[in-house]
């Protein structure tokens, strides 16, 4: 287990103003007042936390840091710790009614939005998943079951990959005979999904963390949107 270094001013290359600004952005989130009420520093969240068992990770430390508004420590945690969370929300049993898991969700969003190095690193190798969900409407698909992607799942993945087409055809629900998406999705539905990504600023988020991926997604989307008669996809 890698020890988590929480020494003061660990990221001295980042100014305190920047650290304050990032925390202010998290605090301005509409959800903030429903996810942090204070902190007894009791550690009940740690007892329930799966990630705390396998990493030097603690929802208590994260809740303490944000409750104390220690922006230097919060920055270190954003850089080195928040991506270890499993987002299981076992910590929602907090007696103070906090949700450390949701505090982490918000801190992750701020990290992605601001293109922090830690967010870029955390999302390395994740591009194909974002690509899939944004462009096809289903997050995972049968054709992702390839031995090189899941070597630790054993020989059965070979068997699935080898028989994929026939096994998909041997599924009684008519919507499941697909391999590139998990079920049949109408073109119109995918167009609606693209419009949602554009209207809600999700495309800007992607460009902040992975410009190459952003370019590919935009290329595909713009072509399809144009085909569907949407020339201008800028929304307020």
């Amino acid at each position: 287990m890698m020890a988590l270094d929480l020494s003061q001013n660990k990221y001295s290359d980042v100014s305190m103003e920047e650290k304050d600004r990032l925390f202010a952005e998290a605090k301005a989130d509409e959800r903030w007042e429903h996810v942090l009420y204070g902190c007894y520093e009791c550690g009940i969240c740690v007892a329930a936390c799966p990630s705390a068992r396998f990493y030097d990770f603690s929802p208590r430390v994260i809740a303490q840091a944000v409750a104390r508004e220690d922006t230097d420590l919060i920055y270190t945690l954003m850089a080195d710790s928040i991506w270890d969370c499993s987002q299981c929300f076992s910590c929602d049993r907090c007696p103070r009614k906090n949700s450390p898991g949701q505090i982490i969700t918000i801190l992750r969003e701020v990290s992605v939005k601001n293109g922090l190095k830690s967010a870029k690193e955390a999302l390395q190798g994740y591009g194909r998943i974002i690509y899939k969900i944004m462009l096809t409407g289903t997050q995972v698909s049968p054709d992702m079951l390839q031995p090189d992607a899941f070597p630790d799942w054993g020989t059965h993945v070979y068997e699935i990959a080898e028989n994929l087409d026939d096994w998909r055809k041997a599924l009684p629900p008519e919507t499941l005979h697909t391999t590139e998406t998990s079920w049949v999705i109408d073109d119109k539905t995918i167009i609606e999904l693209y419009l949602i990504w554009h209207m809600t600023g999700v495309m800007d988020l992607i460009s902040g963390v992975d410009e190459g991926l952003y370019d590919i997604i935009v290329d595909v989307m713009e072509e399809r949107l144009e085909e569907a008669g949407y020339d201008d996809v800028t929304f307020d």
Binding site: G125, D152, H156, S182, D186, I196, V209
Partner: protein, 394 residues
């Protein structure tokens, strides 16, 4: 690791905390917002069955006219999970709709990568709800994460007028109505509501089976008040989901001390940091279940849980860990009990951990069943059938 003596589902002497806990009953607020013209509330269609939630609120579970909000992980990687849900509906002759204008909830990606935001997440949810409303069917959510996430979305939409305004504007641009379902219903609640009817039609004796249960975190930890509880199951100290269904099938539901723990899925971990998922799943769940309860099968009700608990055992074997426990969904167990084909309907060949001993214990000739499935595959290969139909799956 320290092991405590554990009690079985029906050995707890407690009752439901109907007057304790902070209740999150959104019913009044949802209908009030409808009166104010904010949105349309889609009513639970009749007939429905009422089940108790954690603090005693009655939750309406629709029996039919359901719009099946499928799960990408189930349909993509363990498709017998979804096929079993549909099979059960068909066996009971219930009216349902399997849509092609549904998207994933995209919450898996959201919890894994944070490359989304509350407006996008809420808009994706409402677009799906609107699609159900437009055809007059009520959403039945197959995935535990979609279910938990949609409850969070609904909660946020009730409490955040600005979010409502943004989502309403998006729906207007898409030309879709702004609809919120009266209840967010998970398919396993439907299975539980149907448990007596399933037991009436049971063809397979399952009384020799011992099962452990893993409840999905996003089912009972997110908006916990909305999960189903029953004083007869763990004295209402734990959700009754799955356990209630298995008991109705005559299965011995065995307890273990890490019941509350998550499966290790981790959203991003299962995709890019699987060392964590494997270790947690094998050491904190499967290993503990085997050591304390020695079950024949473990049953869960979510995409990520089946995947992680099942797939992680392969690597556990290489490390001489206690593994080899078949993993199934409650829909598969219910379908099997009612006589569904283990390969044509349950599609057990997509699962990783060997389940032959479990099938043998139930008196199922798996070799014969596999050759029947292979026969269907041959018909597809020979071009005699384009697909295997429901009729062929009988």
């Amino acid at each position: 690791m320290l092991h405590l003596p554990v009690l079985k589902a029906d050995e707890r002497k407690h009752s439901m905390d109907t007057d304790k806990g902070e209740k999150v009953d959104l019913t009044d607020a949802i209908f009030q917002l409808e009166k104010e013209g904010e949105w349309i509330v889609q009513r639970v269609p009749e007939p429905y069955i009422e089940l108790d939630t954690k603090y005693g609120r009655k939750k309406k579970i629709p029996i039919e006219h359901t719009w099946h909000h499928k799960s990408c992980g189930q349909c993509g990687h363990i498709p017998g999970y979804s096929a079993s849900i549909f099979w059960l509906n068909r066996e009971f002759g219930l009216d349902y709709h399997d849509p092609t204008n549904q998207t994933s909830c995209t919450a898996w990606n959201y919890y894994a990568s944070a490359t989304s935001n509350p407006e996008a997440q809420a808009a994706v949810a409402i677009r799906n709800f609107a699609s159900a409303y437009e055809v007059g069917y009520f959403p039945l959510i197959h995935c535990g994460t979609s279910f938990g996430h949609y409850k969070e979305v609904r909660h946020a939409l009730v409490h955040q007028p600005e979010l409502r305004r943004k989502v309403k504007a998006i729906m207007e641009k898409l030309g879709k109505p702004f609809v919120i379902p009266e209840e967010i219903v998970h398919y396993s609640e439907w299975v539980l509501a149907m448990k007596d009817r399933i037991a009436e039609r049971q063809q397979l004796d399952m009384s020799m089976i011992t099962a452990t249960v893993h409840p999905a975190c996003h089912y009972h930890k997110l908006i916990e008040d909305d999960a189903i509880y029953d004083s007869e199951i763990y004295g209402a100290q734990r959700t009754a989901i799955i356990s209630g269904t298995l008991k109705a099938l005559g299965i011995n539901v065995a307890d273990y001390s890490t019941w509350f723990d998550c499966c290790g899925f981790g959203f991003r971990h299962i995709l890019v940091s699987r060392d964590f998922s494997r270790s947690f799943s094998v050491q904190r769940k499967i290993g503990v279940m085997i050591e304390e309860a020695n079950p024949d099968v473990t049953v869960t009700h979510d995409t990520g849980c089946v995947t992680t608990l099942d797939q992680s055992q392969f690597a556990g074997k290489a490390h001489d860990k206690k593994v080899g426990l078949p993993v199934m969904s409650d829909s598969q167990m219910a379908a099997l009990a009612m006589g569904a084909h283990p390969y044509k309907v349950l599609q057990l060949h997509w699962h990783n951990t060997d389940n032959k001993a479990f099938l043998e214990k139930l008196g199922i000739d798996h070799e014969k069943k596999w050759s029947e499935f292979q026969h269907e595959i041959q018909k597809i290969k020979d071009g005699k059938n384009e697909y295997m139909s429901w009729e062929d799956a009988k």
